[in-house]
Subunit: 189 residues, 2 copies
DNA sequence: AAATGACTATAATTCAATTACGGTCATTTG
DNA sequence: CAAATGACCGTAATTGAATTATAGTCATTT
């Protein structure tokens, strides 16, 4: 394995375990079995190293979300499957979960920027799928950007936020029932 | 004006101006022209004084939201008017705006609890209106709690959150257009 | 009986000393 | 000699002791 990859893997491990702030460049160098200076021949600074790892994570999330769709499934089925996959990734993927926590609790600016960027990319991803649905004649013409945003925020609200104030999580069937009867119903041709 | 009221007004002024944490009981006593000990004959502690003021604020918000409805208006028109009224109150009302800021920036626990409680009460308020809509035959039978939550979160997303990531706020007509064509369309008989 | 403010115990804040860290660069290594 | 390295530097973060501020009490006053 080349040095660059070793550094990336070491950093990914450390960021996932300790978060952005608590990961030191000395530590990354040690885990990667590399002099600290070597890191700086591949990455301009700590934040760029971090961003490189996040790019990989987003790629992974996108792949998982794509894979969640069923061939021959309706727009609604696939949209639901993809969104649930993305939201599950938030808690499943150690680095992502750590970043969410760090963004809220410590509020490291670099982490908050990254999280905002991830959200933007997710919404853009959803928007692409909606546009495809429109092109295929499955979905009504609409303000794609806004509908994507509304869908994402609705899923976040029901999957992530509800449990925090209501003591227990909503069941996935309750969520799909509600959204199927509200947003999806008016969205699908 | 009786002492209790004077204390309440002084405290309301101070909380709105400086927030919960930065308001001292000495300061409230001074503004109210009252000995500090007197405050404790009416309120068990700082938090109870705070809660008493928040109760008043919620009452005011509720009154404003009720007044926003048009007599003879449809469910959709009135739901929209009420929700916009509530969300405008967030930024208009000095105390509320201060608390939102303090909840996010300083994260005073007493303030965060109060904010969570206000949200719960808003959702409950919306749920009542939906239930009335169902009883009147204007709204389809549905999971009232969940629809109320979804509506509130949708409005929050479009009115409050959108601007933060997209550079500029959405126009109110864009918001009502979108929601009219999605959630409301499937909700109304 | 109601009001008060000096008083107390505790929590928050300061600030100087110390430590930790990101990033550099002269030296070493293969 | 190009790539790798880690001692080194300036700055940022942390610590802890000293100080100050504050919520809440209660003996005294009105």
């Amino acid at each position: 394995m080349d040095r660059r990859t070793e550094i990336l893997e070491a950093a990914a491990k450390s960021f996932a375990l300790f978060g952005y702030k608590a990961t030191t460049m000395d530590q990354v160098a040690k885990i990667a079995n590399v002099g600290k200076g070597t890191i700086y021949t591949f990455f301009a600074n700590k934040e760029e190293l971090f961003n490189a790892i996040v790019v990989g994570m987003i790629e992974e999330m996108r792949t998982k979300a794509e894979a969640a769709a069923i061939v021959g499934g309706t727009f609604e089925e696939n949209a639901h499957a993809r969104l649930m996959s993305i939201l599950k990734f938030r808690t499943t993927h150690q680095l992502y979960a750590k970043l969410i926590d760090e963004g809220k609790e410590i509020r490291t600016p670099a982490v908050q920027e990254v999280l905002a960027d991830i959200e933007t990319q997710i919404v853009k991803f959803i928007a692409e799928k909606i546009q495809k649905g429109i092109d295929r004649g499955e979905v009504k013409s609409c303000n794609v950007e806004m509908v994507a945003y509304l869908l994402f925020k609705s899923y976040m609200a029901l999957v992530v936020d509800w449990g925090k104030t209501h003591g227990q999580e909503l069941d996935e069937t309750e969520i799909i029932d509600l959204l199927s009867n509200t947003i999806f119903k008016s969205l699908i041709i």
